[in-house]
Amino acid sequence: MKSGDLLDAAAAEALEFGWLREQIAPAGAYGRRVFGALRAFVPGDEARAAQAAERIVRAAATLEPERIDALARRLRATPDVTPAIARAAAGDVLDDPDFLELLRLCDAVRETDALLAVFPDALRCGGPALDALAVALEPGRRGGHGFYLDDAFDRALAQAREADARAQAAFETARGRLYERVARALGREAITDEQFIVMRADLPNGLPPGVRIVREAPTYLVCEIELDEDALAALERREAAREALAHVEETVRARLSAIVRDGAADLERTCSALGGADVFLAQVRFAQRYGCTAPEIVEDACVAFDGGRFLPLEERLRDAGRTYVPISLDLHGTAVVTGPNMGGKSACLRTCGMIALCAAFGLPVPARRARVGLFDTIAWLGIGTAAGGDDEGLLSSFAREVIHLRVALQRPTRRPLLLLDEFARTTGPSEGKALLVAVLAEVRRRGACALAATHLDGVAEAAGAAHFVVRGLREVPRGINAGDLRGALEALARAMDYSVLPAAGTDAATSDALALAELLGLDGSVVAAARAALYAERRAAEKAAPPVE
């Protein structure tokens, strides 16, 4: 599965595309091949994307997770036989490990088809070639995981093996007699190896006949036994029998290989279908594991959902013993989300992006309900935009954001989704706001979608964009020891209302920045000074404002 043109690098990182890919990665080699070629649906593919997600959700409701996991284990252990099929198709004679692997393929396909049989619109992976191959290879099955070129494949095998065994025994006997004679002559119990050492001191009468010296030394001789006529004749007969056996074995292998060759096209289709099933079942498990639902895929540029979750964050919070609060959002065209620090604005952007991403790949989405359009680009700007090329390391944060914005706007896309996380936060607020407003206006003009998280006041109103707010702190937690970061975060999580709601009127965004700074242990005198400065500024602003008639 490749993000291709759908995600820019920053979006892939922010939306944790790698995590998603890992979650839906298939188990086996065939699945990986199909998975590697997966591409996102683009605007115009709405019906196909919707069908894909609906099919996964239907299967998720039907199939038992334990059975899918068991099959995944089987698929993981099923070797890739496509090279063997290709070799057989080219006329090669396969070897026994190839037949073992083909037998494993037959088993895996049979299990997959059995699992998916309950599912009405499932494709059948098996085919006539695989059925024929399974029947042909069955005599070679040994236990659960073995193969042997059994005599049952061909009567000639048994005959050739008997002849080989007889010839081997005759040779062993002839050689054994010879070895025994030499051992006796040397006064030894036995000679067990081809080469042996004799001490000169033990040879008052010299070496017995038929022993050849390989190496001489002052005190010993390295010797080997020369085969006599009987043993040589027996060896010759054994070699002939071995050659005959090799011929019969190769004939059987060639016959089995021909079955593979004749059914190569169908077997390749089976492998692809098995890969497709593996990919599909991994997606089903993803939907089951994370309680995903089929989105309504529409032709509009929108991302609307209830109870949406950004799954990687949900997992991390769960690991930390905390609860993820699902959010709801209705994004049509452009919108701005404001709210306190640590209130979940970035998570809102990521949730939006993940739902759009899942929908684009025809996957069920992590939301109770969703209505999503297809985008051909999802771009991420602002926080989390890392330096790209060599030169970018020399740029300021703002300059880098501008470069990335330029690239995003210049991409020849029909329908982008722009996710802007505190874009232009590192420049002057007036000009930053003006730029953000202009960007949102441009996105709206193109009929695309953008969601901007910002602390700047009045952006939504100025850009004519929808405005959402994160509710923020219900109350400021008290009694947290300075430096107890974990305690502070837990207290913050308890006190924070992460709900995202449409903003009422043109309220200025509140950041709860000073309360957070205090909670996170910043020196109280610094926070007090900041509060005093803020108060003075507000008083001055009130005095400067013209009196209301």
Partner: protein, 296 residues
């Protein structure tokens, strides 16, 4: 005398179900010793299984290209070897796969059905050897013979394995060097287990000579304990020197059953009887020469 039978007796006396044949270097005669034990096990109706650490039993030495002995396995013998090393004729019975990869393919557990020449290619790592040994046992092997490298046997051999040390002359400049190499390897593999009642310092991972000496200098009476004998990163003269100056001990002792000699090398050869006697005296181990059918 049938050396294989004598070796098998020593192995069985120790209650071992796995035997590791390790050498002082190349051409120490490991494969010949393994073959002798294999033959004896077969005669004793003890279903034998053979495997290797790395690559062995090939018809030519892959490093210097000279002729090396192969395993000619009798029908019914279990073996673990890589896909690329399986004999094509006579066909072998493939019993299981291991998912352990080597440079010549995955390792299969198989059974010879006719007399077949095998090249035994094993896993490169100790964890893989353990898995292969278990897979051979699962197929009914009564004795598993591992043709192995000394630095990789320890993790597996401590469980219920015996070790045979094969001493060769390859790469040694003199007879004394040959004896010293054999003595040092035997001393290392027979490192005694530590006494928990006495002062002790445990060393995790490899014990370098300089660390051993520094620890010994701090407290000469203290035992320096390694996890297993192969963790001492020294051999030959260096190891023997350390042994004199430091109380080296092991947490997991190995069981060395015997020593074998191969007095004839490609570059040099020594008197087999003298080598056998000297090594038996230097190590205190039962010593055998498979080639000369001799014992000391």
């Amino acid at each position: 005398m049938h050396v294989g039978t004598r070796l098998l007796e020593l192995i069985r006396l120790r209650g071992a179900r796995t035997v590791f044949v390790v050498g002082t270097g190349k051409n120490a005669g490991k494969t010949v010793v393994a073959r002798a034990i294999l033959g004896a096990a077969r005669e004793a109706s003890l279903q034998p299984g053979i495997c290797s650490i790395g690559r062995d039993g090939e018809s030519e030495d892959v490093i210097d290209g000279r002729a090396k002995p192969r395993y000619l396995l009798a029908p019914g013998t279990l073996a673990a070897t890589a896909r690329g090393a399986l004999p094509r004729t006579p066909a072998v019975e493939i019993l299981d796969r291991t998912a352990i990869g080597t440079s010549v393919g995955e390792i299969f557990i198989c059974r010879s059905r006719g007399f077949a020449a095998f090249e035994i290619v094993g896993p490169p790592a100790a964890s893989g050897v353990r898995e292969v040994v278990q897979a051979l046992r699962a197929q009914g092997a009564g004795l598993v013979i591992v043709d192995g490298a000394v630095d990789r046997v320890a993790a597996v051999a401590v469980e219920d394995g015996a070790i045979i040390i094969a001493v060769g002359v390859h790469g040694r400049e003199s007879f004394d060097e040959v004896v010293l190499a054999g003595r040092a390897l035997a001393a290392k593999l027979m490192l005694p287990v530590y006494d928990p009642r006495q002062p002790v310092v445990h060393v995790r991972g490899a014990l370098l000579p300089e660390i051993a000496l520094a620890l010994a200098a701090e407290d000469p009476e203290r035992q320096i304990v390694v996890e297993d004998p192969t963790r001492v990163a020294a051999g030959g003269r260096t190891f023997l020197g350390l042994l004199e100056r430091a109380r080296l001990r092991t947490a997991r002792p190995l069981s060395v059953a015997a020593l074998t000699v191969n007095a004839v090398g490609r570059e040099r050869a020594y008197d087999p009887q003298e080598m056998l006697q000297c090594l038996a005296a230097a190590t205190g181990l039962p010593a055998f020469d498979v080639f000369a059918a001799a014992a000391a």
